[in-house]
Symmetry: C2
Subunit: 352 residues, 2 copies
């Protein structure tokens, strides 16, 4: 049988509750579609940090390298500074494994209520392709005159031609596979005048190779407004690290729940493991109660299956999610129900 | 009579149509409340640029200095690069006149339909206080290896203690004057790890001086989501230049129309003129047709009156806008009506 090696990192907070449900559904899919998942469970988290002073062992990334993919819950916990937790586990994976594509589908699922008036599933179905390794999330910056009146900090955004071109190429190729063949670029070249005009240049250059794709671009401010006023305008949206981060939280909010939104951190060349995680975080406010929505995690599992070449199984999982939501199956609080995390996971595992 | 010297710059596109309506209403308010407006009309625009190679004369800023305020329409036109038009007229005003506060009220007005389901005027009534001179809109950056595979660009965000403190102080003081006494800070310290943690530090420090204010902070991604899912949570929101830009387009979108949203670019010390402009731009797609919504411009005029010490007149103008919208007066297309720009201006001038 086909065999895939998966590193599982539940991480913190609700990640510890949603990951088991993700695995439950993946396991069901593996049995039904005849492949094997070889799982390595890793407890790397803010608790590890409290115990050992590190989010992961020194050879953490090396150990992950032996796997096809990483299936991640959530990283971060109050009391542990983000620059320790996120920059000690999440960001190094994205960056060291050159997962330069962050793929974030936003769909209003049948049976889910959008906060927008008069919008149905046909109105909200787009994908945000986020650059995931450079841009505004940079390691270059500093602070001067600490503690004095003239104190200041700087941080340098960095956009490379290679970095822009490869994410844009991916986005154009993705748009080619979708019926609407439409690609929107998020920019802010009227205000951020060194980096963003370059982004626009590279986008225009790449567009020349894809005459079938209809393109447009909006400044991030008005683009956010359009997500609310005209979500139906969008098909594939390509964006820098920061703008992609913003759009891929706003998109799911417009589509009804962040508890549903999945993400894939992909190294398309498969030189390194890719990583699959929900868009939501560790949600300390509801952690430990068994009430978190596991759908984002399970849908992230579907994206992982697709990446692993198990397209049929992937489709079965997303199909199961659609049916459950459309047909009034168990739903968690964020969707107006009162089911627990495991109820949803079990229901999905049964029908996958 | 009290006398205020106003420089009027209609600028480009619909700015040329909305500014006259703004002046019509300001003029009515002046007559009713017994003050005088001494207007200097300036045709600085992208047309000036086409004619003279400059957006404004070399002594442009000096000439503006002789005025109490600038009343601006919109800047920018297709064919003229933004770094010429915006950075040749709009941004220099904000920066050279140290208009470090950009004040952007977001209200769902009675009689206006929000794109959000089941939201009324009581749910959406907040103010974005945007830092307007530094941060992500910086003049420091560059490009290397142009035209080669290793080409890259950089842009440095710069946050000074002085810059952070003064905008935060303004926001806290504003929150003190509002009944809910609530202030939210927009951050992204989990991803933008040099500048944003400093922003958070300064916010926490400033908060110590305002124990009556309840504060919270959200990362910009989830904050955008909350604007859609829980607009009622917000009272005053303080944000960096870029985040404030984003939130102050998203806020009005959530509140029904960007055609209504006003903005004030304020130098609180009054050492330099302040500037008042709609949030919307020159809107080339509808320019010249007489159908643009003048309310954002007129409301910006009300913010100007307030700044000039004409609080009663300011309240009369916003009151007139509220009544017009609530009572089904003439409205432009963006609000579902078919009135022209001048119809709305005239109706407001009559009742102010
Ligand atoms: C035109 C542009 C430079 C400007 C900005 O980003 O500040 C506009 O979007 C605004 O909000 O006033
Ligand atoms: C946790 C944080 C660093 C992360 C990001 O900004 O990338 C998160 O918001 C996301 O979108 O995955």
């Amino acid at each position: 049988a086909r065999r895939h090696r998966i590193a599982v990192i539940p991480g913190d907070g609700i990640g510890k509750e949603t990951t088991p449900e993700g695995l439950r559904v993946l396991d069901a899919a593996a049995r039904r579609f005849g492949f094997e998942l070889e799982l390595t469970h890793l407890d790397w988290s803010c608790e590890t940090y409290a115990r050992t002073g590190k989010m992961m062992p020194d050879d953490g990334l090396e150990r992950l390298r032996a796997h096809d993919s990483v299936f991640l819950g959530a990283v971060g916990w109050p009391g542990v500074p983000d620059n320790v937790s996120l920059w000690g586990l999440l960001i190094p994976m994205r960056r060291d494994f050159d997962q330069y594509i962050s793929l974030r589908p936003c769909r209003l699922m049948p049976g889910v209520r959008s906060p927008l008036a008069n919008r149905g599933p046909e109105d909200i179905d787009f994908v945000v392709v986020r650059e995931n390794t450079e841009g505004e999330y940079s390691s270059s910056g500093g602070r001067m005159f600490r503690g004095t009146a003239r104190e200041f900090v700087t941080q340098e955004s960095v956009f490379t031609r290679q970095g822009c071109d490869r994410v844009m190429k991916y986005a154009f190729e993705l748009a080619m596979k979708r019926p609407r063949k439409k690609l929107t670029s998020a920019t802010k070249s009227n205000g951020i005048t060194f980096t963003m005009p370059f982004w626009d240049e590279r986008f225009a250059e790449m567009a020349k190779g894809y005459p079938e794709i209809s393109t447009d671009q909006f400044h991030i401010d008005i683009l956010c407004a359009h997500f609310v006023q005209h979500p139906d305008w969008f098909d594939v949206v390509v964006a820098s690290n920061l703008f992609g981060d913003i759009l891929s939280d706003l998109g799911p909010a417009v589509a009804g729940s962040i508890g549903i939104a999945p993400s894939a951190n992909i190294n398309p060349e498969r030189e390194h493991p890719s990583m699959f995680e929900p868009v939501h975080g560790s949600a300390p406010d509801i952690a430990g109660k068994g009430i978190a929505n596991p759908i984002a995690q399970i849908w992230s599992g579907a994206l992982m299956l697709e990446h692993l070449g198990e397209a049929e199984a992937a489709a079965a999982v997303t199909g199961a999610i659609e049916s459950l939501l459309a047909e009034g199956g168990p739903r968690t609080r964020d969707l107006g129900g009162n089911a627990g995390t495991a109820d949803v996971g079990k229901a999905l595992a049964e029908v996958v």
